[in-house]
């Protein structure tokens, strides 16, 4: 619901939302100029958790930067791993063995599901419902257990290596993943009955926070945010990388443009990710998980390289400029939520505070990824 009347400038006040506020996960600060509960202007203030990852990329060897990638977006660390590994492989011309590619896809998709589950819980929490968060975390815990058993860590993974993987999976992982998909398939209808079909939730997010196609294009928003506005764009299909073309999956697109559409896109993506994982597990080939001849010290030839992958939040791109030494000359990360947040200011104008927060929740912000 947006402001019915022209906003009266005289009675406005400034509300500082964050950097410590229950609705802004992490340290995002939004300076709101408000007229009563209507937002006249919202200005996101960034930089509270800036860690200079890009600069660190220029100071470390190519391999040493790997652990950093997992720390930018702590919810889909493997996508960042993947992007960086693929980038350096492109630069070095390394061929990744098939088994490794399959395992990459399986783990990245698992990570995507876990990221969407956290978003789901946190979004409903923003809207005041507490229990779905804990149900989602219960399911996510199974994914973390699975990923921990192969990668060794639970959140900030550092699993991919240039030319392959850190280590191979075992039988338990395959069985565990199949088991998880089975339980998740049973849980999803529960989520839909408890949350999606709930009249209170529908009233809260349907037709709230409409983002037009033009706005999406203007700010370069990607991922579920763009797909919720009817833009059929997913790097996995549009600029295929890894072995995604071998799988049969759909890209959920909704044309309603509202928060509900973005919500539905993510819920459907969970199902699609499970389809990909199932196919990958069925087709999983035997073989090595590391390319045979990866040099110890990496010195990519001079040049400019770019790699994009679809992270849980949208199109993630990394660009590296190499001057032929063992360190990058420049490493630029294009993080999806930065663009997705940029449109908040324009879209939230004239909205009520709770609606704007619902909109913000539906953008799925991960602050460390915005600030890097």
């Amino acid at each position: 619901m947006s402001h019915p009347l022209p906003i009266n400038n005289q009675e406005s006040f400034v509300l500082n939302l964050g950097p410590q506020h229950p609705a802004t996960h992490g340290v995002l600060r939004v300076k709101l100029t408000m007229d009563g509960e209507y937002i006249m202007h919202a200005e996101p203030v960034l930089g509270y958790i800036h860690r200079m990852h890009e600069k660190m990329g220029e100071n470390r060897t190519w391999a040493q930067f790997m652990p950093n990638t997992g720390r930018m977006d702590y919810l889909s660390a493997l996508s960042f791993n993947h992007c960086y590994a693929a980038l350096v492989e492109k630069a070095m011309g390394i061929e990744v063995p098939e088994r490794a590619e399959y395992l990459r896809v399986i783990t990245v998709e698992l990570n995507r599901i876990s990221s969407h589950l956290v978003w789901f819980g946190a979004f409903i929490l923003d809207l005041g419902g507490f229990s779905p968060l804990l149900y989602a975390f219960d399911d996510r815990e199974h994914i973390l257990d699975l990923l921990e058993s192969v990668t060794g860590s639970r959140l900030t993974y550092c699993y991919f290596r240039f030319g392959g993987l850190y280590n191979d999976i075992d039988e338990n992982f395959v069985d565990g993943t199949r088991e998880f998909i089975k339980t998740m398939r049973e849980r999803l209808p529960m989520y839909h009955n408890l949350v999606t079909k709930n009249i209170i939730l529908i009233k809260r997010i349907k037709d709230i926070g409409p983002i037009s196609k033009e706005t999406i294009r203007k700010y370069g928003a990607t991922g579920p945010v763009a797909r919720g506005s009817g833009i059929d764009y997913d790097i996995r299909k549009n600029e295929p990388y890894s072995i995604y073309p071998e799988f049969d999956f759909d890209i959920p697109v909704y044309t309603e443009c509202d928060s509900m559409a973005r919500y539905m896109v993510r819920m459907d993506e969970i199902e699609q990710s499970m389809r990909i994982i199932e196919q990958a597990l069925d087709k999983l080939p035997e073989g090595p998980i590391m390319a045979p001849k990866v040099p110890k010290i990496l010195k990519p030839p001079k040049g400019d390289y770019y790699q994009a992958v679809e992270s849980a939040r949208g199109s993630l791109g990394m660009r590296a400029v190499s001057d032929g030494t063992n360190k990058a000359y420049r490493l630029k990360v294009r993080s999806p939520t930065f663009s997705n947040l940029s449109l908040f200011s324009e879209v939230s104008e004239g909205m009520l505070l709770p609606d704007a927060l619902a909109l913000m929740g539906s953008l799925d912000l991960v602050i460390p990824e915005i600030d890097r």
Binding site: S131, T151, G152, K197, I199
Partner: protein
């Protein structure tokens, strides 16, 4: 008017369905682990802080090549060794890990040719003092050997 009653009806129904689901969850068994009372065992690949692997005689396999120190992105490892009479190669005299900076990435473990280091399974590390996180791995190894 029809739509009004339809929404009223389906909306009310959705509310009762929600209540039914949460009630069902209430009757299901707990899923949480009572942490200090129950302690979970870590999976074999769990990455705790690194530690030296003892040989059968309790000494280390480390040849003080310094690869781990060089590959560590955060510079948390300091190794030192010395030449000794009658021993081939160098002998490890100091292996310090500054765990405050370690990101548990595993570069050191992978770069170690003789396989002298591995991840420990320790995760109960909490302290209010920074010094508690500077581990002398050689000393730990010696204590373990005893």
């Amino acid at each position: 008017m029809g739509a009004y009653f339809k929404e009223l009806f389906s909306g009310t129904k959705s509310l009762f369905v929600g209540l039914q689901i949460t009630f069902g969850q209430m009757l299901k068994p707990l899923v949480t682990q009572q942490y200090p009372h129950e302690i979970s065992t870590m999976t074999p690949r769990f990455r705790g802080h690194i530690e030296l692997i003892p040989k059968e005689d309790g000494t280390t396999k480390c040849i003080v090549c310094g690869m781990c120190q060089r590959s560590c992105p955060s510079g948390c490892i300091t190794v030192a060794g010395e030449k000794r009479e009658g021993v081939k190669g160098k002998v490890l005299t100091k292996y310090r890990l500054d765990f405050t900076k370690c990101s548990l990435c595993g570069m050191c473990v992978e770069s170690c040719r003789p396989g002298a280091i591995t991840f420990s399974k320790e995760y109960n590390l909490a302290s209010t003092r920074k010094e508690d996180y500077t581990f002398d791995l050689l000393k730990r190894l010696e204590e373990k050997a005893k």
